[in-house]
Symmetry: C2
Subunit: 309 residues, 2 copies
């Protein structure tokens, strides 16, 4: 079984880019041609979400290595949405993409084991078939253990919230504990789990979520967590630019994947693409926005060292 | 629309007990007569989970006020499990129970809104129809805001993780920040949200998860968070007893609900009930265990002040 980060490195090298596309379907933003006629029918919406996400995958699979479906938007539609999500995960994997489910799950003891077994692993017995899952750290070290063990056993990974991209993240994450911020203390635990689970490429099965909206802390964490792969949100719609994520990478341009959701998947509605493409040609807008982000990261970060496709 | 905690108080007064039963279906623990013949069929397992949980509800609905389905075990079965979960929530509410979904969700911005809208509210447009949801605090104050607003608008509630019952919870929760532990700082935020959302009974729509396994901290938090209803895990299988939860209640025996999961739902397999009932008479074991816990709490806590049924 190939280690998660070694599969990740191979996929990133293959497409020459660390771009990660977040699949965040939202009713109000869906391109008009995809919206169901009966807007009160939750199964019709779930079908629309699935069609939208599979249409996204068709466009981006040749360009990027990883997708990150945001579970909340599928859960919003109840069991219908969860049924669509399972199809989206499967479709993504069939198209050669690695799939990170963004669920920010966690619990204690055998409940944490249930989450880990549910989501981790690209093949059965994993019910969902994801390559990785985002995980919340507040419950402490024993809550992470079942995720670490299941990830190791199944060639999967987890990304633990360390320093999140939202303004209010600092409310607890930046509190001083033992002379440093809480996020650094969480980072220390995550690094220790990464060291225990390291793959051939030098990165552990346990990575960290670190927001692009705090570039100084991102660069500082790159140094202090050398075995943690970073999942970096905050690019694009949340305001961070390529220069802000430069510090997330190692010297080879590896060690991080940079997420963009709205700015890519709803590109048809961005001022720079609206005139040219509009809602009917939404997939062309997605391709243009994806290529633009790839070029931005190549120009301004060590990811420019990656071979080009 | 009646405030969540006022509905909670009415339900607790009606049955005279603060007992909350956690619905944690696990394959290996399910009473033998309920296990599917084809143990590889995930839809058959989901059907078994639904049958088990509805059978639990049949027994406990006359005795307790609240159930707490643990989402992880349903998610473990993929979309099939989620379909069963929706039926269990509906069945519980049809039988007059309040339903707290234990999902420990959270995210930022519009994603947090999606979770809140998905789960909160006993009626449509909530997809899941729960009265309350457990929520994780690491993402900070702005991440909680959409839950607070949606809960207020829909007569629902949330329970934020403050001091959890697991041994490793102290890894971060007990770190010293500004002269006190982190959990007290999280508690301060939760109390401020409770004060903003208070119902007629004096409790806010925002409550706190505080483990029974730390009785001193539980009593201390009761004093410092006077407007927060407590959801108290850790009773029974996790080792806490009635005396440990006494400090969770106010003088009227209100302000807390005490969860037991395994010790009730799998009572047929406990040494004290196995001989008498066994797997075929599992529902009678559930009733006996529920009545025993109700009596224990009445004898040793201020919940003994509640009117008896």
């Amino acid at each position: 079984m190939v280690h998660f980060t070694d599969r990740l490195i191979a996929a990133i090298r293959r497409c020459g880019s660390p771009v990660l596309v977040g699949l965040d379907p939202r009713r109000d933003s869906l391109p008009e041609p995809l919206r169901p006629r009966d807007t009160g029918d939750v199964w019709a919406w779930a079908q629309a979400y699935q069609q939208f996400c599979c249409g996204l995958i068709d466009v981006i699979a040749p360009l990027v290595a990883v997708i990150k479906p945001q579970m909340a938007f599928f859960e919003h539609l109840g069991p219908a949405g969860m049924t669509a999500l399972a199809q989206v995960v499967r479709y993504g994997r069939q198209h050669g993409l690695l799939v990170i489910l963004d669920g920010k799950r966690n619990d204690i003891g055998s409940t944490a084991t249930a989450y880990a077994e549910a989501y981790l692993g690209p093949a059965p017995p994993s019910s969902w078939g994801a390559d990785a899952l985002t995980v919340s750290p507040y419950l402490g070290d024993d809550s992470l253990e079942p995720f670490v063990q299941t990830a190791q056993a199944r060639g999967a990974g987890i990304f633990v919230l360390v320093k999140t991209s939202n303004p209010g993240g600092k409310r607890f994450q930046d509190l001083r504990v033992d002379g440093g911020p809480l996020y650094a203390e969480v980072g220390r635990l995550v690094e220790s789990l990464a060291v225990r689970t390291v793959g051939q490429g030098g990165y552990g099965a346990v990575g960290a979520v670190v927001g692009a909206t705090y570039p100084a802390q991102l660069a500082e964490l790159r140094t202090s967590l050398p075995h943690c792969w970073f999942l970096v949100p905050g690019y694009g719609a949340q305001g961070a630019a390529a220069a802000d994520v430069a510090g997330a990478f190692d010297a080879q341009g590896l060690g991080a994947i940079v997420n963009s959701s709205r700015a890519i998947i709803f590109a048809h509605d961005r001022p720079e693409y609206r005139q040219t493409y509009g809602p009917r040609r939404w997939q062309e807008a997605v391709e243009a926005a994806t290529r633009a982000m790839i070029a931005e990261l190549r120009a301004a970060t060590p990811a420019g060292q990656l071979p080009r496709d």
